[in-house]
Symmetry: C2
Subunit: 170 residues, 2 copies
């Protein structure tokens, strides 16, 4: 299964696609950061973000999408543009009919590092290790997007297995 | 000129189109509220909101769009879904190439009531009067969307006139 992880942001939006299957290490397909001009007006920035996400989705054809959930505990000054970017990111997956899940930053960290309070460096280290990369993913910000994709591959597989067990006769 | 006003919200999103020209009272073209199912997941809700906005834009063909700006002074519990809905609303106008402006609630209130601290009842009364409606716009929530459209018609016209004056030789 191919999963696209999105770490939403208006100035920098991390995107990454990982291919994997339940219980196996994934393979990096692509990773990037979509930037929008901080001097441009909001409508132009959201349009540019949407265009960047669309191009990435069309090029790498993920089957599912995982987006970081936005919380009010985020930096208050940036929570509104981040939430606006996340709305555009979630819509990008949903309007293409792709199953689109959201995960908290803690869930993504716990998935790759075993702890929801792991720092950025640990996340980058573990993403590099899990995907067996020769060097940490660049740009660094995109490691979070890859962690979200890995989180979804692993948790999604677990959820599916539990759902199957619940349905099967005991 | 036809302007579409959007009062963004995930559960209820007010939309209204007003036709007018600088210095004249406008004419109501259409008004509605787009609702999404609060029991549905975020991706499905944003997809439904986008579909509702797209249908309204296609049916009423506004030339410009005015969206209420989201502030962190908004109710903190609702600021994130409201910001996500506003991201989708601003994108809906921008990706169609329509000039899309944002106004604070105070700016919209000041435009139609003469005061940025006017209450909801005053806004509904003045929107009804300005558009010479036989009855207050229904649903009531949509009055804010019409106030935004009127605000943009009037302020946009003023901005354009000032820009022309600035360009013309003295």
């Amino acid at each position: 299964m191919r999963v696209m992880g999105i770490d939403p942001g208006l100035t920098r939006c991390g995107v990454g696609v990982v291919e994997g299957s339940p219980g196996k290490a994934g393979r990096l397909v692509a990773v990037d950061v979509i930037r929008t001009d901080s001097k441009a007006e909001l409508p132009e920035r959201l349009r540019a973000l949407d265009a960047g996400l669309s191009a990435f989705l069309e090029e790498h054809e993920p089957e599912q999408v995982a987006v970081e959930r936005v919380f009010s505990q985020h930096n208050l000054a940036s929570v509104i543009p981040t939430a606006q970017a996340s709305g555009v990111a979630v819509l990008a997956g949903a309007k293409r009919g792709l199953p689109t899940a959201t995960y908290t930053p803690s869930e993504a960290k716990a998935a790759v590092c075993g702890s929801g309070t792991a720092d950025k460096r640990q996340v980058t280290t573990m993403v590099t290790r899990i995907l067996r990369l020769d060097a940490p993913p660049k740009p660094a910000d995109a490691a979070d997007a890859l962690a979200l994709a890995i989180c979804h591959l692993w948790r999604g597989a677990l959820k599916n297995r539990l759902a199957r067990q619940a349905r099967s006769p005991r």
